[in-house]
Every structure is written in C-alpha cells, then in structure tokens.
C-alpha cells in the first residue's frame, strides 16, 4: 500500500484551557492511595522564565511494567489507565499523582508529550527513573553526560521531579 503524506502539526495555542484539561486529568491514581507518588516539575523557556501555558501529557506502564489498555482516562473509576494530562499553572508548574512505572522492557521511564503556545509542534521526551539500568538503554547510552541528565527524574520527598527546559543550557532532550 502506498504511503500517505502525514498531516502536519500546529501549535496548541493559548486557548486550549477550555477544551483539553478536565476534572481528574492529572490523577492517574488517587493522591491518598498509599502507593501514590507525585511526578511534577516546571517548564522553562530559553530565558529561564516559566511557561504558564504549557500542557504536559503522561503515558506510562503500571508499577509492574504492564502497558495497560484500559479506557476511562477522561472519566476515571479508580482503574489505572496509564495516561494523564496536566496544564502548567501561573508559575509554569505541572504535577501528576501516579505510581512509579515498572519496566516494560528496558529501564523504566515516563513518556512525556509537551505542548505550548509558541511551540509549533509537540515534543516527545522520556523521564527515566534515576535507579534504572540506564546503561542498557540505547537512547540514554547515545547521549553525552550533560544531555543524559536532562532525561533523569530527580527523587524528592513526594516522588519525582522532572523539569522541562524548552531551550538553552540543559535543554531537555526531545
């Protein structure tokens, strides 16, 4: 079959707030769940300023490394769907309530999609757990030490911090 030409992307723009965020979007698990952790961070622009109009999406396996194929992310019933969405606040900060991803083959990571006004197409990145077997990962191994660090979650008392720098020194690999 012949290949079709793909549809180009465009920026999410500034007005997605009425359409894409929804109640419970960032709570993959109840924050009160004993196994819950936070995944959170700040999105920065090339001048080091926060990006208050970004949208972050999260896709991950469950804690056992299973890639779940369970609907219900838009209308959660307590089942883990592996997917969520979080808009940044006025300080450029986003946050999810989730579980640490298990290994679905290779070192565990959160798959992240970044959208923002001023960003003409979405970016994909990976937020690796810091204690995975990262040398075994082809992407991670292909990067120099400075760039590797941009893909690592930092453990904090609530779970994991993953800052996203759209540009500049320590620009997040995408």
């Amino acid at each position: 079959m012949s290949e079709l030409a793909c549809t180009p992307g465009q920026t999410v723009g500034p007005f997605f707030g009425m359409a894409l965020p929804y109640p419970g979007d960032s709570a993959l698990v109840d924050p009160a769940d004993p196994g819950a952790v936070r995944l959170h961070g700040t999105v920065y622009d090339g001048a080091g300023g926060p990006v208050p109009d970004a949208l972050i999406e999260l896709w991950q396996p469950d804690a056992a490394g299973r890639i779940v194929r369970h609907p219900g992310s838009l209308c959660r019933d307590g089942s883990f769907t592996g997917w969520g969405r979080a808009a940044t606040d006025a300080n450029g900060h986003y946050g999810f309530s989730t579980v640490p991803p298990g290994s679905a083959g290779g070192p565990p990571f959160f798959a992240i999609t970044v959208f923002a006004r001023g960003l003409l197409n979405r970016l994909f990145t990976r937020a690796y757990l810091p204690d995975g077997d990262l040398d075994a990962d082809p992407l991670f191994a292909s990067l120099d030490a400075g760039r590797r660090a941009t893909l690592l979650c930092v453990t904090d008392p609530t779970g994991y911090r993953f800052d996203i720098r759209l540009q500049g020194t320590d620009e997040t690999c995408s």
Binding site: M1, E3, L4, A5, C6, T7, P8, G9, Q10, T11, V12, G13, P14, F15, F16, M18, A19, L20, D45, G46, G49, E57, W59, Q60, P61, I67, R69, H70, P71, G72, S73, L74, C75, D77, T81, G82, W83, A104, G105, G106, F109, A111, T113, F115, R117, G118, L119, L120, N121, R122, L123, F124, P138, L139, R147, L166, Q167, E171, C173, S174
Partner: protein, 245 residues
C-alpha cells in the same frame, strides 16, 4: 546568533520574513512546521535548539492510551447543543477519517476539538478580542472515531481573529484538533483551516509549515455531499498520523 525579535513588526516585515525563509528553504520536503520560525514571535524562546533525536521506540511508545464509550458522551460531538439557544453563525458539519500512513483507518481513537465562535472570540478569559461572546456557544467537543476511522462534529464556522504577534496580525479561521493514534508517537495537535482563506499568506503559524503541499493538507474541502439541505454546509478533512518524532 539570532536577532532578538522586534516588539512590534508590521505585516510587511513579517511577510518579508516569511518569503525569505521560503526562498532559502532547501531542506527536503518536511511535513511538520519549523520549530524555530522567527516570524512567529512566541517560538523564539520556546523551540529546542538541538536537533530532535531519532529514537527507536520502546514498547511503551509503540502503544497508546485507550479511550472508550465511558470517556465520551455522544452529545460531546455537537458543539451547537448544551445551551439554552442556538449559537450564532454558519452551522457546519465537519467530518473525515483518521488514518495511519498506510491508509488503514484508526478506529476508536479520541478526537478533541476547540475553536472561536462565529465572531472570532474564544470562550476563554485570556481572549481580549473585543468581539462578542456567544452565550450559546462554548466551542469545544470530542468524539471517538468509528470502525472506518471516521469522526463527525456539528458546530459553527469560527471567525478569524486578531492576535498580537505583530501589528494588525489576524489568524485565518481555524479549528484546533487533538488526535491519538495507536502509538504514543502518533500523537498530534494541529489546526484545520477553511478553503480560500485570504489570510493564509499572511499567517506565520500556517506558514511555519514551509512545504506548500504539506500546508494544503491542513485545509478542509467543502463537500456538498456532506451538506444537509435547509440545515448545514459540510466540510471534509482527513487526517494522517505518522510515527516519526
């Protein structure tokens, strides 16, 4: 080095910049927009300067989230409903198919849309365009694609609207689309335009797709077979999701 963006450029400045980039573009045809596109001022500090990585997708990235009937109410596809009265503007039926690069339909996939009202005003607190809000129109909807990958929305045609990229800057009328495929890397957010818009050549967001053939793929077709007598005109727009980063 790149020049810092000027605070207020004229349309002539922006159009000249658009033309210069188009003339200098010798890269192989690329579907997606340039992430670094100086005529779109907001891209200046928000584009990665490193080239995008080429990555062999992991198992996780070969899969994608699933959405189902519990996620989406069938009424969500009617943007003209849910208010006391009918929205103002030109009622339209918007339909098409979501396909992969091989032409296979992507069934059961979530499609989300949002848009300005007929006057070019978004129902959003940050939209300062002094055009009227419509109490009967909020401007967002969602649906799941059918077994043949098809989606269908009932809405009104949005108006063009001014923005502050440069002096006298206007966006061509468009509807924002958010799409999911069967792989994480097929995720797409884009904008659909209407045929014959006089603002196409002036708009840095549309022109950030430097390949003119690729730009055309964001423009819906008027489809008289989709038009319903005494009710609404029809526009058809198919979407092809690629797996590349």
């Amino acid at each position: 080095m790149e020049a810092a963006p000027q605070p207020v450029a004229s349309q002539a400045d922006i159009s000249a910049q658009i033309a210069r980039i188009a003339a200098e573009d010798h890269t192989p045809s690329q579907a997606h927009p340039r992430l670094n596109y100086p005529p779109y001022r907001s891209s200046f500090l928000r584009h990665p300067k490193n080239p995008l990585l080429t990555v062999d997708p992991a198992n996780l990235e070969r899969a994608a989230p699933c959405f189902g009937q519990r996620d989406v109410d069938p009424l969500d596809a009617d943007l003209t409903a849910g208010h006391p009265g009918e929205p103002l503007g030109e009622r339209i039926i918007l339909s098409g198919r979501v396909l992969d690069e091989s032409g296979r339909p992507l069934a059961g996939r979530l499609v989300e849309i949002w848009q300005a009202n007929a006057s070019g005003r978004y129902h959003h607190q940050l939209d300062q365009h002094p055009a009227p809000l419509d109490p009967n129109f909020t401007g967002f909807g969602r649906c799941l694609t059918g077994p043949d990958g098809s989606y269908r929305f009932l809405t009104i045609k949005p108006g063009p609207y001014p923005w502050r990229n440069h002096h006298n800057a206007w966006r061509p009328a468009h509807i924002h689309f958010s799409l999911f495929g069967t792989a994480f890397t097929q995720r797409l957010v884009t904008q659909m335009y209407f045929p014959g818009d006089p603002l196409f050549g002036l708009d840095p967001i549309f022109q950030s797709i430097v390949d003119p053939l690729a730009r055309q793929r964001l423009i819906a077709d008027y489809d008289h077979d989709l038009t319903e007598p005494e009710y609404a005109t029809g526009y058809r727009w198919d979407i092809v999701l690629d797996r590349s980063r």
